[in-house]
């Protein structure tokens, strides 16, 4: 019985995320998850938009929300999250082939991903606003 009480004691747990210095690898990993959740929320809003465009509901709440400044910020965040999840997802698929796991190449692919996101955002912004 003494062994049972021993196992009930506080066991060591891991990982202790708070003791680690934030690194490009860990931050980009959690950002991939967060952008995924943001995009799933966006998917439901997109469906709500399609629903109102189809005239299936009397109030065009989402269409009007997109006209507001908060709505425009939300769209920008979704587009940014989309680009991030897209490029980082491709990075994940390259890892799935067993390539690019060396410390330096993980950092390099992370930086490449971020640069691609910024370039894509800039192009989208200039076309959408200027075009």
């Amino acid at each position: 019985m003494s062994e049972t009480t021993t196992t009930k004691r506080e066991r060591p747990i891991s990982p202790h995320l708070s003791v680690y210095k934030p690194q490009i690898t860990s931050i980009m990993s959690i950002t991939h998850r967060m952008t995924g959740i943001i995009l799933l929320i966006g998917a439901f809003v997109f469906v709500g938009y399609l629903f109102s465009v189809a005239g299936l509901q009397s109030c065009d709440c989402i269409g009007r929300f997109f006209e507001t400044i908060i709505g425009k910020i939300a769209i920008s965040v979704w587009i940014a999250a989309f680009y991030y999840h897209f490029f980082n997802g491709i990075r994940h698929m390259i890892w799935d082939t067993g390539r690019g796991f060396e410390k330096q190449s993980v950092v390099n692919s992370g930086i490449t991903t971020l640069i691609l996101v910024i370039i894509s955002l800039a192009i989208t912004w200039s076309v959408a606003v200027g075009g």
């Binding site: 998850r33 995924g36 959740i37 995009l39 799933l40 998917a43 439901f44 997109f46 469906v47 938009y49 399609l50 629903f51 465009v53 189809a54 005239g55 299936l56 587009i79 989309f82 680009y83 897209f86 997802g89 491709i90 994940h92 698929m93 799935d96 989208t124 076309v127 959408a128 606003v129 200027g130 075009g131």
Partner: protein, 126 residues
Amino acid sequence: MSSLRTPLKRARGLGAAKEGAHHWIYQRLTAIALIPLFIWFMSSIVIVISSDTNAILWLQSPMHAFLCIFFLIVMFWHGSLGIQVVLEDYVSCHAKKVFYIFLSKILCAAGAVAGIFSVLSIYLKG
């Protein structure tokens, strides 16, 4: 498509949960399908925002309506697989975990169906 697992693997069974390979494979398959669909979706958004066309005219083209339905199916499928992993990782109470995963699957299915229904109704009005 369960044939993507080898017969030997199926005969032996897979660890304690008896699943995982299926989830992993479909997460990747839907992700690969989403690459061209994402490019189509993003360029469509930019075109709709920056030109005189609007979402109704856009979805009254058969190709865009088809791609939009395809996109909705694959995206909600990928999203439900993704949110499942997040719930598995962060919800520690087993009963709650099972319930939330169940709920997320139903919501994703409902989202996809509502989206497909809207696209079809816009397309058929054109």
